[in-house]
């Protein structure tokens, strides 16, 4: 009886370990923090640091985007929270936006982050009711970032000088 328990426990442990290996090689987490965060997230136990998130939000509203991203990074070190990733993407958008031209590397990074936010969100839907934002969904933000990175005739339209940052 005792041997059966050991054998069953060993089998269960091996299956869990093998699943972990498959997950790690499929997801390719770049740091140990991402590994632990991903595992915690997969069992619904991942929580962001709310104080660091509040700090990030405060920086974001004061247009201190680099500081905001540092605080958001502390809040979500494993990059598993869609809302935090949305704000990080938005900070790249606002920092990279220009009346004459946009900063392409910042927009590209923002696009990467908003895509991550969409991937992380259940059903791919990220909606925020933050009144400080003029784009409340990840879909709008992604479309705006993609439009900013696109090269076409509208780049030469003089009316773009009168557009506003969202």
């Amino acid at each position: 009886m005792r041997e059966d328990v050991v054998r069953a426990g060993g089998l269960a442990l091996s299956i869990v370990y093998a699943a972990l290996i498959a997950w790690v090689y499929a997801q390719q987490p770049p740091t140990i923090t991402h590994v632990t965060g991903g595992l915690a997230s997969s069992v619904g136990a991942y929580r962001i640091d709310s104080q660091a998130f509040a700090d990030g939000l405060a920086f974001f509203r004061r247009n201190q985007f680099v500081e905001a991203r540092a605080a958001f990074g502390r809040a979500d070190p494993a990059e598993r929270d869609p809302v935090t990733q949305f704000y990080i993407a938005y900070s790249y958008y606002r920092q990279g936006w220009g009346r004459l031209y946009n900063d392409d590397p910042l927009f590209a990074e923002g696009l990467k982050r908003v895509n991550l936010a969409i991937t992380l969100s259940p059903g791919g839907r990220v909606v925020l009711d933050d009144p400080d934002l003029r784009m409340h969904t990840a879909d709008e933000l992604r479309a705006e970032l993609e439009a900013g990175l696109r090269r076409d005739a509208s780049d030469l339209d003089p009316r773009r000088l009168f557009r506003e940052r969202k």
């Binding site: 041997e3 059966d4 050991v6 054998r7 069953a8 426990g9 060993g10 089998l11 442990l13 091996s14 370990y17 093998a18 972990l20 290996i21 790690v24 090689y25 390719q28 987490p29 770049p30 740091t31 140990i32």
Partner: protein, 231 residues
């Protein structure tokens, strides 16, 4: 073999090697799956272990065992395959002529061992020498040639060597932690394969499961004693 060793210890050892054997440590972790050639070499290595008696698969999976015990045996075999592939991938240089040469040499050594069929002790020694030599070549010799921290003279000599060999020898720099990790994993792997259920039973008795027609007097596996001491 005890249930704990078969169900817990061996799978954990082999799964640990399979998981961390593909990690390249650094600021950004890289998880590399074994190459196709490593899978072929792993199959050959398992064939060598079986043929030489270092692994007795009939002691892991057998019609006379319970379903649970057979499932444990299956896990041991699958994890052994994954660990073997990852261990061989880990000690093979990443690119260029060294990757080709090491792959070819390991293939020929395994083929030679498969044909010559030495006993369990010799094959374990042989595996240790093969993976140990490949480890030294990759993590000591080639890593020192790819070391970016050397003096200016050293780097000039390495650059000349690189030109002379048409760039086929030089490798990507390997983080120092990778060598230590690989060393620990190889020790773990060698400990794992030496703990596999072999055809040699305890106290130096060899357990032979007869495949010929059953004898009238005894149906159970024939046990002959005193053939060789267990290492």
């Amino acid at each position: 073999m005890s249930g704990a060793r078969e169900a817990v210890v061996l799978p954990l050892i082999f799964l640990t090697v399979a998981m961390f054997g593909g990690v390249v440590p650094g600021p950004v972790l890289q998880w590399t799956a074994p190459s196709l050639f490593s899978l072929v070499l792993a199959i050959m290595l398992i064939a060598v272990l079986v043929r030489t008696g270092a692994l007795a698969p009939e002691r892991l999976m057998h019609a006379g065992r319970s379903t649970l015990a057979n499932a444990n045996g299956f896990v041991v075999l699958v994890s052994l395959f994954a660990a073997s592939a990852q261990a061989l991938h880990m000690v093979t240089p990443g690119s260029g002529l060294p990757a080709l040469v090491v792959g070819l040499i390991v293939f020929l050594l395994l083929l030679n061992t498969l044909v010559s069929s030495p006993d369990r002790r010799h094959v374990l020694r042989s595996v240790a020498v093969v993976v140990g030599s490949a480890f030294v070549l990759k993590f000591v010799v080639l890593a020192s040639l790819a070391d970016p921290q050397g003096s200016r003279t050293y780097r000039v000599l390495v650059a000349l060597f690189d030109v002379a060999t048409l760039g086929t020898i030089s490798q990507e720099p390997i983080p120092a932690a990778a060598g230590y990790l690989a060393f620990c994993l190889l020790l773990l792997y060698l400990a794992g394969i030496s703990a596999l259920p072999s055809r040699l039973g305890a106290a130096g008795r060899s357990v032979v499961i007869s495949r010929s027609r059953p004898r009238k007097s005894r149906d159970s596996p024939r046990v002959t004693s005193g053939s060789r001491a267990e290492p």
